[in-house]
Symmetry: C2
Subunit: 333 residues, 2 copies
């Protein structure tokens, strides 16, 4: 549980992630609250500072917990036993210190320079409804400052897999940073993983995502809605057919229907485990990626990767927030 990780790694990283550095503000809410505030259940909405402040005032009691999709995945992977590193942007403020602490405490290497000026560290207000669904409203703040300057060629060279979240695809600076990090990773012969993150994210950036995917993505993470949105179809099987061959591996989650690992030649289906006490689905997709990428980094077959993904997702939904309060390594068996 020591966290003096920065500078302590001699060996390589299994996964380097680039993503939004976010502190989650978790709050229980009902469907009426979502309707009144025009929030689509299960989605992630980006807001400006004023909208964020206005919604925050309406939230009930909160609990704060570090978040960020790729950061959550890396924390999960580290708990499983992988060596991971993160690139992302916080401000030098209290939420930034919390985010940084928690990532270090999880055992993730993170030394991106915090911004000294400008917008505050990002926060994501997560409304958890009685059905355990999470609906997210994000103020990106300092995250919007991610630029090519944050790319660390040495880190990319030292990592086996580069993992990037679609959520990051926002400013032109971030897009340039993502493209150049992928180019670097490819030059070093690394694998590149990408998550579609959210259906609205896919809607906003479909053409660019498709271009990115066709060229450079080895492993694509998506849930059922996201892959259907990408393929612009309501038919799941058509969406699967659409993505086959466009990426080496598509890892697709379907909640209680389990998950699929799709390649050009094969489809591996891993049924979901029955979870009795679902508290909060925040982080289910992120922790699925933890398990899947951990398996890949260990040379497991795709079914085994998907099964560990399911187990990790199954564990996190019994807890509030997307960072497990229990170590996950017992799930590796």
């Amino acid at each position: 549980m020591t966290n003096n990780f920065n500078g302590g790694f001699a060996s390589n990283f299994d996964v380097l992630g680039i993503g939004n550095a976010i502190v989650d503000i978790l709050s229980f809410a009902d469907d009426k609250f979502l309707q009144e505030n025009k929030l689509a259940k299960g989605s992630m909405t980006l807001v400006d500072e004023e909208q964020a402040t206005s919604l925050y005032k309406k939230l009930g009691q909160t609990t704060e917990c570090s978040g960020g999709s790729v950061a959550n995945s890396l924390a999960g992977m580290a708990s499983l036993g992988a060596k991971t590193a993160f690139i992302g942007k916080v401000k030098n403020d209290q939420l930034g210190a919390i985010f940084t602490h928690d990532l270090h405490a999880a055992g993730v290497y993170f030394d991106s320079k915090p911004a000294e000026n400008g917008a505050a560290t990002a926060h994501c207000m997560i409304c958890v409804t009685p059905d355990a669904q999470r609906t997210m409203v994000t103020y990106l703040g300092a995250c919007s400052l991610v630029s090519e300057l944050d790319n660390d060629e040495a880190l990319i060279a030292r990592s086996s897999i580069l993992y990037i979240e679609g959520y990051l695809w926002d400013t032109e600076e971030a897009k340039t940073a993502i493209r150049s990090s992928i180019t670097l990773a490819k030059q070093y012969g690394k694998r590149v993983a990408f998550t579609l993150s959210d259906t609205f994210c896919v809607d906003r950036h479909r053409a660019e995502f498709l271009e990115l995917i066709k060229g450079d993505i080895d492993i694509l993470f998506a849930n059922e809605s996201e892959i259907k949105s990408l393929a612009q179809t309501e038919d799941f099987d058509k969406a699967v057919t659409f993505i086959r061959g466009k990426v080496k591996i598509a890892a697709i989650t379907r909640s209680e229907k389990g998950s699929l690992a799709v390649t050009e030649d094969t489809i591996e289906t891993a049924p979901a485990q029955k979870i009795a006490n679902i508290v909060d689905t925040t982080g289910a997709g992120d922790l699925y990626a933890s398990g899947f990428l951990f398996g890949l980094s260990r040379g497991w077959n795709l079914l085994e990767c998907a099964q560990l993904g399911n187990k990790c997702a199954g564990e996190i939904i019994t807890q509030l927030g997307a960072r497990s309060q229990k170590p996950l390594h017992a799930l590796v068996a």
Copy 2:
């Protein structure tokens, strides 16, 4: 769940609390961690900024949640259905905004002016061990700035009970503020409640606490260790005899042995309920006070007050942190 409480109250408050305005940083730890960091299990240690930073680096994954002993009690009382108000000091920073939000979201009136300069909003690192005990390390920061200027005579005049935490008894300015608020409360014919807070707190301030108690306290909250420390005896019965008549009511908690309401003439004993799934004892004493003071504000007899205190304490120890994620009003029956 609306939180536009400030300015909205026409009627009086059942309880006005003065206490430290603190955000809790909760983390699971083992006994070895406590030993290595020389922390006495179950206690609260005050540290300076440097010590706080040093310990924070060693903590594992954290969850943040608003805290502060009296603030927790007020939030609990509000959830039970009481009208409550708080006086305390945050800085105008991110943790201060979180503390303020959560108190408003709980339905507690709070409009103490935040400090614009100086130390940050207080935080308390809470190490929860596998036996569910909590050990606390507090950086008081902006809380140390509480002074007589923060006393709000109008709030005192509008409230039935003034409730003050022993934890606040730190700087000379805070002591002066407490004494003058008690004097004001007495002038307005109000009842005054006080909690001993912590055995180390009693050890540090025994003589002053005894002087305060003999003169002005109507309701004293203490746990078994604190009352024994105050009476300087290892014998619980002697401690009870010691306190009888010194305050109108002593409400004494004994964990799994339940609680006692002691007056000069009577002792009411309320057995504890069996709690199967204890997660974290943080807030047990604070929520006991919620139930007890709620009962008093409704004119209940002392046994009923103690029983509701037990119920509220029993509920909070099944959750992480000292602010209930579930409404408590169902416990009033």
